[in-house]
Symmetry: C2
Subunit: 335 residues, 2 copies
DNA sequence: TGTATATTCGAAAACGTTTTCGAACCTTTT
DNA sequence: AAAAGGTTCGAAAACGTTTTCGAATATACA
């Protein structure tokens, strides 16, 4: 292994000079700095990150908390897309990313302990149970954190704009003349609450009264439950003219029931999804859906986190909202 | 920060005694060991991994090389599933995982340099361009590596059993009486070569001659290209009775064309996919497909890698093949 | 020329561990 | 009672950096 020492001996200068030259300190003359850099290049020097972070207490490493409670975690395109963008945003800033989990080998540890042990400079928290005490401990610790799609008091967060999403969906559907609009929503989370509040307020604003019978709970990313709800809707004597699904993937469950009944989308019934996954744009008829900007969300989360890490005094907790875009497909009929 | 020193002062013993007690060295008496452990617990001690790995040259950290050449990388369920299982397998052995990329901040570095800088004890390589010189450099370095779905000379690899996969598919299709069977395959990789070799040899073994016109190249995870190929097949005067797709997702492209022509699966034409993604089992009719065991693949890759890390002398390069399973759906008609 | 100021460098301490080796003590054996 | 062996512990070095502070030299100014 090539160390500072090798370079210093090669160049006939001291350890500190080499270190300073390589780190661009300006109390080293141009000439020696260049000489040192050339030697480093020639000898194939790589800094030892362990030694470096032992000294500096920085690791250039951010943790990612991604717990797959329903075990669909990374299989969900919203999250895998976000992860990719977290990864590339972090890389471009010189940070690596490491997954944070609850235990290492036999050793049981909390998320906080794990992050601290691994020396993460900060942690992005996404796709977890935000009521988990372990998560709360991490957020309240001295380690900078940014949450995605959930807001804690003293911690920055990046939110997909669920208010806008549902608003756009509702307005679009209503503008197409639909009045009996059913909604299948996900489990009771803050995301779901926002979407439903947005739906209700949009109805109210437009002076449309909504039928509580047309609202049913299912689960995100669970086509079976959405299929059940769809069946119940179709069984109503006064069935809805449009069904809003909790997400694109869940819609597939509903689609099966609809086709099984011999009904056609959108002629017999209109549907609309949420997420804008690749599949939604491949399906025919093309699915009308609200595309969440998971790439931007991941990017913003990392940017805010790194700002907090590098400028802790200047950076104040902030709530960043990322809006998506209504993708007008072919599944909502003009009435 | 609580360090060894704090514990040693608290207990009135030396640094080394504390270290040895916590690491279970046996030249420390039961009583003092327990006293030290209790103190560590009480003071909330966490070892400093940087200091530890500076000394030991181990990091308990494995790198994952996942380059999204087509940028569909982690969006592909095969890979996101594998990543999840890599993650949990590594965790259960006490290792964290870190993504390895080509550059950190402004600093350009090769994969090898990155892995070395970050001090990875080993690297799992998947979903990359295996002909990339940077990948080859890493594989030939002193850092233990395991590749997925590709074989290098002196490096262990874990392979999804593409020979078995295509064999099972072909045998099944032929057993259902199909004789004009079209194959759409992915870009020219070792995986594709294996699948096609398997298809050809199965034909030969069964004494069926295959029509080269019924073989077309598309790309993995690209429904548009598969749609094109499907159209060409359907335009043939003597069109195939069954189409084998490169993967389940690509099939959706073909499905659109088929339905657009007013044809029905499986009555008018049979189809079969590859991968066994969640979607395939939700679709109606349920897709017949070969489910690759991505979870097992990830797990085996990590196990082999850690074996290599911890027992370098005992561990010899090995090629591990993981078979999948034919999921008999409803898309292949009995002729 | 002498003094003040910049510039350039190096010695040494420090970060928190692990590990070697020897010292001290205790137990057993003869 | 002495020797031999085993057990338990600590001093100190080492891992590869960064950083402080002072020394030495060069430059500027009067």
């Amino acid at each position: 292994m090539v160390t500072l020492k090798d370079i210093s001996e090669y160049c006939g200068v001291s350890n500190s000079t080499v270190s300073k030259a390589l780190n661009g300190q300006k109390d080293i003359s141009k000439q020696t700095a260049q000489r040192v850099k050339d030697a480093a290049q020639k000898l194939g020097y790589l800094p030892n990150s362990a030694a470096r972070s032992l000294k500096t207490n920085k690791t250039l490493n951010v943790g990612v908390l991604f717990v797959d409670k329903t075990s669909s975690g990374l299989r969900h395109e919203y999250f895998s897309g976000m992860l990719e963008s977290i990864k590339s945003a972090a890389e471009s800033k010189g940070y690596d990313i490491t997954f944070i989990s609850r235990n290492l080998g036999e050793r049981q540890m909390s998320f906080y302990e794990h992050a601290k042990y691994r020396g993460c400079d900060g942690v992005v928290i996404a796709s977890v149970d935000f009521s988990n005490p372990d998560v709360i401990e991490l957020v309240n610790s001295e380690i900078p954190t940014v949450t995605v799609d959930y807001v804690y008091d003293r911690c920055s967060s990046v939110l997909s704009d669920n208010l806008d999403g549902m608003k756009q969906i509702a307005e679009y559907v209503f503008s197409k003349g639909h009045r009996r609009v059913a909604v299948i929503h996900g489990e009771n989370t803050s995301v779901t609450q926002k979407r439903m509040a947005s739906f209700r307020s949009t109805c109210k604003r437009l002076g449309l009264k909504l039928d509580e019978k047309l609202i049913k709970e299912a689960r995100y990313h669970d086509p079976k439950l959405s299929a059940l709800a769809t069946r119940e809707f179709l069984d109503l004597e006064d069935r809805p003219t449009c069904i809003i699904y909790p997400d694109d993937f869940s819609f597939i469950g509903g689609k099966n029931i609809i086709e099984q009944r011999g009904l056609k989308v959108p002629d017999d019934i209109s549907v609309i999804g949420y997420d804008g996954i690749l599949l939604s744009q491949i399906l025919r008829p093309k699915l009308t859906t609200y595309k969440q900007n998971s790439v931007e969300i991941g990017k913003k989360a990392v940017q805010k986190l790194i700002e907090q890490i590098e400028e802790p005094s200047l950076s104040i907790p902030e709530i960043i909202t990322v809006t998506g875009k209504l993708l007008k497909g072919e599944t909502v009929k003009e009435l």
